[in-house]
Every structure is written in structure tokens, then in C-alpha cells.
């Protein structure tokens, strides 16, 4: 416990501190961009996209081995991840646009198929017993144990770029998320804007893969925004709060996993973020369950005691 509190205060040594700061930046980027993905209803598509990174990672590893004699070049792996993620997204869009299947069905197909392909490829690589293949396992569930300074710097740089892009596009994201038809009539290129949004989500997924893992990285873009929504009724504030909650949850989660041996980072971060969500769901002032129950009880009491009066009908019906 003391070790954990020490880590929270950045007293956990160079490596732990590096991991926690890196995770916090990742969490902030995920929460910020995730707020707009959630409002635009792209969270599920993002999930398919993140699962579709796995075959790309493994294929890049194999190609690296065959061509360069060494598979573990982070840049190569992340490029492979981005490529198959983009492919998965493209297939999802194609299925939804060209067939009678709805988008959720298309997402289900792509998510499971790409992930299955990745698992099969991973098994093949393991059976070949290539040097460095053990590290690939880390991409499945995430590990920050071996986070290098260069990786933390990559996360920091990418998070800064994502934050800048989200800030610049925030107005267009909000207008389009609320009313796509109106935005298009007002001259917003909604197709290009949606593409930009998914590229930003993909950026977070790719830089977060190593730390949080293929399966869980997308939670960084979903749980903090859902939590933030409970605390605010303004889209702008929601993105800011989500970024803050994302950073805090990732920071605490990474600290926990660094101080307890063998705790997987991604999973711990997700559980910490969920705990914040559960607390918010109970306690948030307007949308929280407790507040709703109190309001309901008050109404029932007023009706039963005959003290209830209808509110004045300002603004007409």
C-alpha cells in the first residue's frame, strides 16, 4: 500500500514514473477523442478497429523476421496494426453500405473474424519459435513493465498531436454528432470529418496497444466519456472531463499494476476507470441514480401530501 501511494506521488522510481506519466497521457488522449466518438456513435466501430489490429501486428512481426531478420521493431508492428485496423474499418463500412446488414452486424463480423485471424497467426508464430515472439503476447493484454523512454515519448508526442487535432475540430465534431444532416446542409464534409475522427481514435489505439493491449485499449476511449456524460450536459466540457478522468484512471491503474507484481496494466486501468464510472453513476448530481431516487421520492411525497403544484409553463408547450 505504501509502495502504491509512493508511486502515485511519483516516488516509485524512474521506470514506474515513466510508465505512469505515459499511461496518463494515453488516458487523456483516449478520453478526449473518445468523447466525440461516443457522441458520434462510433464507439462500437472503434472496438472493431482495435481488434482488427492483432493480425497486423503479427504479420508485421513475421515480415520483419523474413525480410529484416528481426521482428520486434515497434514502428513496424504499429504500422501493421494500423493497416489491418484500417482494413477492418473499410470492410465494416463496405458491409454496412452494400448489404442489407446493419452496422452492428457488420461490426460483429469484422471484430471476431479479424481477431480470430490474429490469434491463429499468433499461434503460428509461437509454433515457429522465432526469437522475440514471446513479446507479442504483451500486445494481447498489454504490459507496461518494459516501457522504454522512447515508447513513453512516442505516446507523449502522439497524445499531443491528437489533443491538438481534437481541439481544432471540436466544433465541427459537435455539430455533426448532434445532427449530421444539418451539418452537411451547412457545408460540413461529414464523410471526411468522420474519417478524421476514426483516424484520431486509431492513433490512440495504436499508441496504446503496447500498454493496454488489443482487447482493452478501446475501453480508454469509451469508459471515461461515458462517465463524463454523467457529470455534464455540455459536449465541450464532456471532452475535457473525459480527458481528465482518462488520465487519472490510467495514472492510478498504471501505478497499481507497477507496484503489484504480474498485474496486467490494461486490465487494471480499465477496472479503475470502471470504478470511477460506477461511483459516478450512483452519485452524479443530475443523472446519478441516487439523485434520481431522491427526486422521485420527493415528488411522491409532495403528491401524497397534496403540496405538489405544476411548474409554470414557460415558453409554451
Amino acid at each position: 500500500m505504501r509502495e502504491f501511494l509512493g508511486a502515485l506521488a511519483l516516488q516509485g522510481g524512474y521506470n514506474t514514473t515513466l510508465v505512469m506519466v505515459g499511461a496518463a497521457l494515453l488516458g487523456a488522449a483516449g478520453g478526449g477523442v473518445g468523447a466525440f466518438a461516443l457522441l458520434r456513435r462510433r464507439s462500437l466501430a472503434s472496438d472493431a478497429m482495435s481488434h482488427a489490429t492483432l493480425p497486423g501486428i503479427v504479420l508485421a512481426f513475421m515480415i520483419g523476421h523474413a525480410v529484416l531478420g528481426e521482428g520486434r521493431f515497434v514502428w513496424l508492428l504499429l504500422m501493421g496494426a494500423a493497416l489491418t485496423a484500417g482494413l477492418g474499418l473499410w470492410v465494416t463500412t463496405l458491409i454496412a453500405a452494400r448489404t442489407r446488414l446493419r452496422e452492428d452486424a457488420a461490426i460483429g463480423i469484422v471484430l471476431s473474424t479479424f481477431f480470430a485471424a490474429g490469434v491463429v497467426l499468433l499461434t503460428v508464430v509461437q509454433s515457429l519459435n522465432l526469437p522475440g515472439q514471446a513479446g507479442l503476447q504483451g500486445y494481447l493484454l498489454g504490459s507496461t513493465a518494459g516501457m522504454l523512454r522512447a515508447e513513453a515519448e512516442l505516446i507523449a508526442a502522439a497524445a499531443a498531436v491528437v489533443a491538438g487535432a481534437v481541439f481544432a475540430l471540436r466544433n465541427l465534431f459537435i455539430v455533426t454528432a448532434f445532427d449530421e444532416g444539418f451539418a452537411a446542409a451547412r457545408g460540413v464534409n461529414t464523410v471526411r470529418l468522420d474519417f478524421a475522427l476514426l483516424i484520431l481514435v486509431l492513433a490512440v489505439v495504436v499508441i496504446g496497444l503496447k500498454a493496454a493491449g488489443v482487447v482493452l485499449v478501446i475501453a480508454l476511449t469509451i469508459i471515461p466519456p461515458v462517465t463524463a456524460r454523467l457529470w455534464t450536459d455540455r459536449a465541450r466540457d464532456m471532452a475535457l472531463i473525459a480527458a481528465g478522468l482518462g488520465a487519472a484512471g490510467a495514472y492510478v491503474g498504471a501505478g497499481l499494476s507497477a507496484t503489484v507484481p504480474n498485474l496486467p496494466t490494461g486490465a487494471v486501468i480499465v477496472l479503475v476507470q470502471f470504478a470511477v464510472f460506477a461511483l459516478s453513476l450512483a452519485l452524479a448530481p443530475r443523472r446519478g441514480l441516487v439523485a434520481a431516487a431522491v427526486r422521485r421520492a420527493r415528488l411522491v411525497r409532495e403528491i401524497k401530501s397534496g403540496r405538489w403544484r405544476p411548474a409554470s409553463a414557460e415558453g409554451g408547450a
Binding site: 457522441l39 481541439f167 481544432a168 475540430l169 466544433n171 465541427l172 459537435i174 455539430v175 454528432a177 448532434f178 445532427d179 444532416g181 444539418f182 451539418a183 452537411a184 446542409a185 451547412r186 457545408g187 460540413v188 456524460r229 455534464t232 450536459d233 455540455r234 459536449a235 466540457d237 464532456m238 414557460e314 415558453g315 409554451g316 408547450a317
Partner: protein, 263 residues
């Protein structure tokens, strides 16, 4: 000099294509292999209160969306005062169906109204005092100024419709295109919305509504297009909204209603 030939039996528009504030020519669109609208030409005059009327599935909303370039069209084009729509978008304000958006969206009445100013506010900046003032003016016009700070999820159906109209008003466009603005609103709201429309028309603006209530066409509008996939009639209400043309547009179903719009 392009003079669009009127379809058979239709009343004729009093203006030329180039004079019309929102001229749609030979517009066709389909969903998959099912044609939704075919060869629709529409030439409302400036200052018109125009209704687009037809039975369910006649393609009324599709006409509006395709004319605004919001869904793919197969053929046809839209001109705003003779210029291509893409060059004159700011003069066409669109009010979609109220049910097309999620009203639990995190925004206030003022936030939504200011969305109509988005291209002016731009990418990086926040709305400034003059944006706010203009949005408040639009809310004043629809009688919602007192609710500017309210979360949109707490509004009634009629109030939501009025926020949508305020968002279009703030654009200060020449042409207003509304998809069923009276659907599911009460009589008081309907009257308030009509006041806004009449005020716009008085100032020379053009209002085009997808409308389904045949009983109010004569009271509310002065120009009409009847469609059922194809155009059945277009022109001033007195000429185009006749029992015969309405019956032709709606088929047998409308026969029982013929007393509502005069013989």
C-alpha cells in the same frame, strides 16, 4: 435560355428557373433499386410559403434531402438564385425532422441555436458575444429566449421544433427548407411557427415545407407542389391544390377527404 417544360396537367410556376430562389431541376434519387423520386422539377417564386405534399412514401423528405445534396442523387441539380447550391449553401437553411436526432445530446438550447452559426464561428474559436446575441435574437423570434440555458432533453416536442427553427433562423438565409415542421406539435406551437414563417415571407424570404396535413394547406401556404414519386402538380395553391389534382396524387385514399380542400 432554359425554360423548363411543365409536366402534363400541372399548373405552371410564375417565375423562371433563374429567378427562383431554390430551383430544382429534373431531380431523381433511389434507395438501392427502388426509385424514391423521379424527374422532379420545382421552381418556387421568391417570398413563397411553399408546401411539398404527397402520400406516405411519395418521396417528400427524399426530395428535400436530395435537393440539398444530403443523400446521393442519380440525376438533377439545385440552383439558388441561379447559382449552383454548392456555391450558395449559406442561403439555404435546412430544418430536418425533429425525430432525426438524439435529444439527450449534451447541449443547451443556446448551444444548439449557435450551431447554425458554425461556419462563421470557425474551427478554433469559441462563440463570441455577437454570436450569442444573434442566437438569442433567433430564440426570441421563436419564443424560447427564456429557456436559452436549458438542456435540450428537457424540452417538449413543440419546444424542440422551435429550437430547430431558431438554429435555421440564425443563419439568416434566403430560403428555409423544413421537413414536416408541424409533425407532433400542439396547436399553440403550430401557430407560433406559422407566425415565424409569415414574418419570413413578408421580408421576401422563401419557406419550403414538407407537409402532410391537407386540411391546413390553404390556410398556411400560397404555393404547392404535389408529388408521388413523380410530380403531379406545381403552382399557386389556388391553381395546383385542386380536388382533382390531390385525388390524382393520393389515389383513391384521398377521395373521402375531398371536402377538406374545396371542390
Amino acid at each position: 435560355m432554359l425554360r423548363v417544360l411543365p409536366p402534363r396537367d400541372a399548373a405552371v410556376s410564375p417565375v423562371t428557373a433563374a429567378e427562383s430562389p431554390f430551383h430544382v431541376s429534373r431531380l431523381s434519387a433511389a434507395y438501392g433499386d427502388r426509385p424514391a423520386i423521379y424527374d422532379l422539377t420545382f421552381t418556387p417564386p421568391r417570398g413563397a410559403l411553399a408546401a411539398v405534399i404527397g402520400p406516405n412514401g411519395a418521396g417528400k423528405s427524399t426530395f428535400l434531402k436530395a435537393a440539398l445534396g444530403l443523400i446521393p442523387k442519380i440525376a438533377g441539380e439545385t440552383r439558388v438564385f441561379g447559382k449552383p447550391l454548392s456555391a450558395n449553401r449559406r442561403e439555404a437553411a435546412y430544418v430536418p425532422q425533429r425525430a432525426s436526432v438524439d435529444w439527450d445530446f449534451p447541449a443547451s438550447v443556446l448551444d444548439v441555436t449557435m450551431m447554425g452559426l458554425q461556419p462563421e464561428i470557425g474551427w478554433l474559436r469559441w462563440p463570441n458575444a455577437s454570436h450569442r446575441a444573434r442566437a438569442m435574437q433567433a430564440l426570441e423570434a421563436v419564443g424560447l429566449a427564456a429557456l436559452a440555458g436549458r438542456q435540450i432533453g428537457q424540452l417538449s416536442g413543440g419546444q424542440r421544433q422551435r429550437v430547430f427553427i431558431a438554429r435555421a433562423l440564425v443563419q439568416d438565409a434566403e430560403v428555409y427548407l423544413l421537413d414536416e415542421p408541424f409533425a407532433g406539435v400542439d396547436a399553440a406551437t403550430e401557430a407560433a411557427i406559422m407566425d415565424v414563417f409569415r414574418d419570413l415571407a413578408r421580408r421576401g424570404k422563401t419557406v419550403i415545407c414538407v407537409h402532410h396535413d391537407l386540411a391546413t394547406v390553404r390556410d398556411y401556404f400560397d404555393y404547392v407542389m404535389l408529388i408521388n414519386v413523380e410530380k403531379q402538380a406545381e403552382g399557386p395553391v389556388a391553381a395546383a391544390f385542386t380536388a382533382e389534382l390531390v385525388a390524382k396524387t393520393y389515389g383513391r385514399r384521398a377521395l373521402g377527404l375531398s371536402s377538406a380542400y374545396g371542390a
